[in-house]
């Protein structure tokens, strides 16, 4: 730099003394920011999880709370019970059917709700309503709706002349399982629809315009462009749906308490009835532990799927 240029340069402000403030220290910040989350997870997820594993290998009951480790004895007792296998089967049916319905219905809903029409906000609000209602209260409403004597559904069907006497939705094994599935689908669809809607909105407008120009009509555009582009997001919606279904016991507990004759018993409700109501903490924990591999597998699968389809 020539002397002239130096003289012309604007006067430099005096150098600010570097202050070593605690909040500027990245290591401290990282530690400080993560600690609450770590404490929270350890206390509310880690500790109960470890406790469940320990209990599953013990013979603790409410009547005999001393912790005696018995190896695989408890788990052997769990799988020896035919109700356990029925619960496992019901859990699978419950999860697969309700999430299949959720994906189809939520995608259709998202397609509708991203279009422009009069009163869209009202429809969006109504669609979200099931998700904002506390699950137990919403299920109680369904309990009344499906009541064996006063069910309004039966009343309508009777008036139309489709049935002669009440169906008794929750009294028949197959119908009870179907009812549980429908109520659960009703509950999860809004969440999935909102997630899928977000995915749909994130598709660039130019891609949609291009498909218009290229002559694609509704079905081609939906099936060949929009749904493939949303596959990762739909995957995430399914992940949430599956986890919420596999671990849910509220709907079953309120609607049927697992009945009639365990026809709607799922693993989580069976674990609850065994462990809490039946007082056999060890077997309850052992039953619940069977959910773990399912959840890990589903999470790993769908996360991998989402990463692979990360196309944009």
């Amino acid at each position: 730099m020539s002397e002239q240029a130096v003289a012309d340069a604007p006067e430099q402000p005096p150098p600010v003394r570097a202050r070593r403030h605690l909040l500027d220290n990245e290591r401290f910040l990282a530690f400080g920011a993560m600690t609450p989350a770590v404490v929270y997870i350890l206390a509310l997820v880690g500790f109960p999880f470890v406790l469940a594993v320990v209990l599953a290998f013990s013979d603790v009951t409410v009547g005999d709370p001393s912790l005696d480790l018995v190896g695989f004895d408890t788990l052997r007792q769990v799988v020896a019970d035919p109700v356990f296998w029925q619960s496992l089967r019901n859990t699978l049916v419950f999860t697969l059917v309700s999430n299949g319905l959720v994906v189809v219905l939520a995608t259709a809903l998202a397609l509708i709700l991203t279009k422009n029409f009069r009163g869209k906000w009202l429809v969006r609000f109504l669609v979200l309503l099931p998700w904002t209602t506390p699950v137990s209260l919403a299920t109680i409403t369904w309990l009344w709706t499906l009541d064996s004597i006063f069910s309004p559904i039966d009343w309508v069907l009777r008036q139309v002349g489709l049935i002669e006497s009440n169906v008794i939705w929750l009294g028949h094994p197959k119908l009870a399982l179907a009812s549980v599935i429908v109520v659960h689908t009703w509950r999860i669809v809004p969440l999935a629809a909102v997630i899928i809607m977000a995915g749909m909105i994130s598709i660039p407008g130019e891609i949609r315009d291009a498909s218009d120009i290229d002559g694609a009509r509704f079905w081609r555009r939906t099936l060949e462009i929009e749904i493939p582009l949303m596959a990762p997001i739909i995957g995430v919606a399914v992940l949430f749906g599956v986890i919420l279904t596999v671990t849910d016991m509220t709907v079953v507990y309120v609607l049927t308490r697992g009945g009639p004759t365990n026809a709607t018993q799922v693993l989580s409700s069976w674990a609850y009835f065994k462990g809490i109501e039946g007082g056999d903490l060890a077997q309850g924990a052992g039953t619940a532990l069977f959910l773990l591999p399912v959840l890990i597998a589903v999470a790993a699968l769908i996360l991998r799927f989402a990463r692979r389809r990360d196309v944009l």
């Binding site: 660039p204 130019e206 891609i207 315009d209 291009a210 498909s211 218009d212 120009i213 290229d214 002559g215 694609a216 009509r217 081609r220 060949e224 462009i225 493939p228 582009l229 596959a231 389809r309 196309v311 944009l312």
Partner: protein, 341 residues
């Protein structure tokens, strides 16, 4: 060959008028550039032509057929978007074949046409790749191939070069122009880059605030701007404008020369040019300063040969040949006399 014509074309979004009563007629096989700053309505005009927006008023004719109310697919147009809008989950082959599939053309013909378009654009090696595995220039070619493959009546291009780096852009400009000349399809090209517009357009429609300020060849819009907007938007550095009771005098920097260099038979108008700063650019020298007797805040730029001896901080006698002077109305900004036509 097809002609595009708009009559009184207007598009409003709420209270905003994006396109304001545009009458525009292309010629057959023309490369017509819509040039203007961002927000001037050029992209909206293109989307109206494509059928992606419906006009609030006015008519669009392509090849003599009224297009109002027709969906894009029936207009026989192809469009290349700024982002190229390739379908990211499809291979290049499937991308190019997409419009053909939508038309229900049989697989064999599809394949032939895809190969023909891909070879024409030199992307036949990439047919099995996905868009994200391609460079910007290659993606642009895929977008062109997808547009070309349906043999459209009209090409609509929306800033297709703006996502390329500067070096690639120059090459892509040549390719695009050669491609258009080769197929001879009427093309409307939107850009905000005047260098692109000047270099590529058969004619340029300079737009501002939803209107066409001037439609003409690059030479016309440069040498004979219709108003002060065009005069300052086209050309870098822009035309010098001096306010002089009721008029605005305009002249290009390269026509503002030392008086000694202008022959007397060109009847130069002379100014006292106070040079504040000189900028050396290799081939030329830009002189920044002001002209005595005019508003002292009005900056004036001259572009002179490097060998011209001009001192910074001094006042020199500069002039503009009579044929290079342009006059504009001070109130409206419109051109008020011809000079050279």
């Amino acid at each position: 060959m097809f002609v595009i014509e708009t009559r009184g074309l207007t598009k409003r979004f709420g209270d905003t008028v994006a396109v304001d009563g545009i009458d525009l007629t292309s010629t057959e096989g023309e490369f017509l550039v819509l040039l203007g700053p961002s927000g001037c309505g050029k992209t909206t005009l293109l989307r109206l032509l494509a059928g992606l927006e419906e006009p609030s008023e006015g008519e669009i004719h392509i090849g003599g057929t009224l297009m109002n109310g027709l969906p894009p697919r029936t207009r026989k147009i192809a469009m290349v978007f700024q982002s190229y809008a390739l379908y990211p989950h499809m291979t290049v082959h499937r991308n190019i074949a997409f419009p053909l599939r939508a038309e229900g053309i049989d697989k064999e013909t599809q394949d032939q046409k895809v190969r023909w378009a891909a070879e024409l654009l030199g992307i036949d090696r990439y047919l099995n790749r996905r868009p994200r595995q391609l460079s910007g220039g290659e993606r642009q070619r895929v977008a062109l191939a997808r547009a070309l493959v349906r043999e459209p009546n009209v090409f609509l291009l929306d800033e297709p070069l703006s996502n390329l780096d500067a070096k690639l852009r120059a090459a892509a400009r040549d390719d695009l122009l050669a491609f258009q000349r080769g197929i001879g399809t009427t093309t409307v090209y939107v850009t905000h880059d005047q260098v692109e517009a000047m270099g590529m357009g058969d004619r340029i429609a300079v737009m501002s605030e939803g209107r066409i300020r001037q439609l003409g060849t690059p030479e016309e819009v440069y040498a004979d701007p219709a108003d002060t907007f065009v005069a300052t938007f086209i050309g870098s550095p822009p035309m010098n404008l001096l306010r002089d009771d009721g008029h605005i005098i305009g002249f290009r920097p390269e026509n503002f020369r030392p008086a000694s260099l202008i022959p007397a038979d060109q009847h130069p108008t002379l100014f006292d040019f106070h040079v504040n700063r000189a900028e050396y650019l290799g081939s030329d020298r830009y002189l920044y300063g002001r002209v005595e007797g005019f508003d002292e805040h009005t900056k004036v730029i001259a572009r002179v040969p490097v060998d011209a001896t001009v001192l910074e901080g001094a006042t020199h006698s500069f002039g503009v040949a009579a044929t290079d002077l342009r006059l504009f109305d001070a109130a409206t900004g419109l051109r008020i006399e011809g000079g050279r036509q």
